[in-house]
């Protein structure tokens, strides 16, 4: 069976500076795939390019279709979702409106049941549903960003540093929810600096350094790799993130 997302020989450049070089990756259905790496390795750039925010040289196929000529909005409609590092919420609108807009491309009748699913996943959002998104705590904003992306019924959800700057207890919660998503049939491409937590829940993993993948394989093998352990796991405690 072909992969849900397959990226082949991707290059992404900011002007003359190549931030991502010759990267290939695959995400299968019902898989959590993680990309770990230090700050500035090019992980965020890669996700942005897959989503269509940055121009990408190379081939990106999603659900068997080439994405080259598709805008961000078309990719969303195809079932590709991104929760960006800065969350990009509608801060002057309330939680419910943010979620409702996440289902902009979905039939109205289905959106109603989606919102209930999101509220079950994130009960906190239900309590806060009339509150403005800008007044939520960091963890709640992350939940809202994930909830909004889920409202679009993605087949693949790309998460960029979902644990960044959050308290350990909330991080644990978010990682638990990511595994629940996989159980519910949503594949996840997870970019994390918190390598230990990411590798624990992932099926496959890639290690990125200076714009290139230096290692890839089963997440458990990567976690056992000595070099990875020394560079990315040694300095971290479980549930905490390096900023």
């Amino acid at each position: 069976m072909s992969a849900l997302l397959s990226v082949t020989d991707a290059h992404v450049a900011y002007g003359k500076v190549e931030a991502v070089r010759s990267v290939s990756l695959e995400v299968g259905t019902n898989q959590i795939v993680t990309i770990v790496g230090a700050n500035g390795a090019g992980k965020t750039t890669l996700l942005s390019a897959i989503m269509g925010i940055l121009p990408l040289k190379g081939r990106v196929a999603f659900a068997g279709q080439d994405l080259a000529r598709l805008d961000i909005e078309d990719r969303v409609a195809m079932g590709l979702g991104l929760v960006p590092e800065h969350r990009e919420l509608f801060v002057t609108m309330n939680v419910e409106d943010n979620l409702e807009l996440g289902a902009f491309r979905i039939e109205r009748s289905r959106a109603k049941s989606s919102i209930e699913r999101v509220y079950t996943l994130f009960p906190r959002l239900k309590e806060r549903r009339k509150q403005l998104a800008g007044t939520l705590s960091g963890g709640e904003q992350q939940m809202l960003a994930m909830g909004r992306a889920l409202m679009g019924e993605p087949k693949l959800l790309m998460l960029d540093e979902p644990s960044l700057g959050l308290a350990p207890i909330i991080v644990a919660d978010i990682f638990r929810i990511i595994t629940e998503l996989r159980a519910g049939g949503v594949s996840v491409l997870l970019v994390e600096q918190n390598a230990q937590a990411a590798l624990k829940i992932a099926d496959q993993a890639y290690v990125m350094e200076l714009g290139e993948f230096v290692l890839s394989g089963k997440a458990s093998d990567i976690a056992a790799n000595e070099r990875v352990a020394a560079s990315y796991l040694g300095f971290q405690h479980e549930g905490a993130s390096v900023i």
Binding site: M51, I53, R69, D71, I72, E73, V76, A77, G81, L82, P84, R87, E88, L89, F90, V91, T92, M93, D97, E100, L101, G102, F104, R105, R108, R148, A149, M151, G152
Partner: protein, 346 residues
Amino acid sequence: MNTTIMLFLLQDGITNGAIYALLGLALVLVFAVTRVILIPQGEFVTYGALTYASLAAGQMPGTAKLALALGIGAFAFDLFVARKALHGRLVVRSFITNIVLPAIVLALTIYFAAQKPPVAVCIALSLLIVAMIGLYLYRVAFQPLAHTSVLVLLIASVGVHLALQGLGLLFFGAEGQRGPAVLSGAFTAGALRFTGQSITVYAITIAFIVGLRLFFGLTLYGKALRATAVNRLGARLAGIRTTLSGQIAFLLASVIGALSGIMIVPITTLYYDSGFLIGLKGFVAAIIGGLVSYPLTAVAALVVGIVEAFSSFYASNYKEVIVFMLLIPVLLLRSLAAPAVEEEKD
């Protein structure tokens, strides 16, 4: 000055202020959603007013032809952009909205213009024509530049304004026109006389403000428009097309402009270039509102209208000068209160 004169001036100021409020709101809306400072807003006013007046006088307005010409341009742009992935549905949809629709309106205009149609028909046709012009203008002039800086968009905006003003001279000539009152009749309350026209202005302004509020607060498309204004990338990630939001914003702005024109033209004689000055006063209000705040813009517009009315009484030669001078203290205050910001690069 006695109280009666003061009341008259106030009434006059509020009537004009109501129209400036509508225009100011449209400017804020368009800027928030598309980052375009809509200089041609004034042309929407003139086009609406003069199309209405021409139709009422039994003349064929050239704007209906312009709508079709711009529609053909918009269709060509759609085809060009989609050239590598043309599919039937897209072509048919673009053909219907960009060519069939203005062609039907043009046919209706030709048909009705010959027989001095009733006021309601004139209003409906004028609104339709200007709405289409606004929509296709966005497609032709602004959508291809949507990703550029505010400055580039402003330059395009000035270009569109100059082009439309020239076309206005071609369509309507240098002579001023007046249109029939939307609502005739009048009543007096104390010393004040309320004409049907001024009541219409108040009613339409209030209805529009309430309508916009409901549209933005309750409907999915209204919320999508707000979302685009708040966070463009966030909106795109939710699947909301910036072009769709831009189209809705321009559609609203052109309808508001045309409607304002139709409300003014029975009160004042309008020339092909009168709209610019009227639009600028809406702009003064929008600037006082910081190009973001709707309520502040509406209040500022009333102030602009009232200041204008009083200065035309005391120093009519300096009427415009005084109104535009309102900007200086506001800009001073704003620049002192706000930290220096660099323009966003997105």
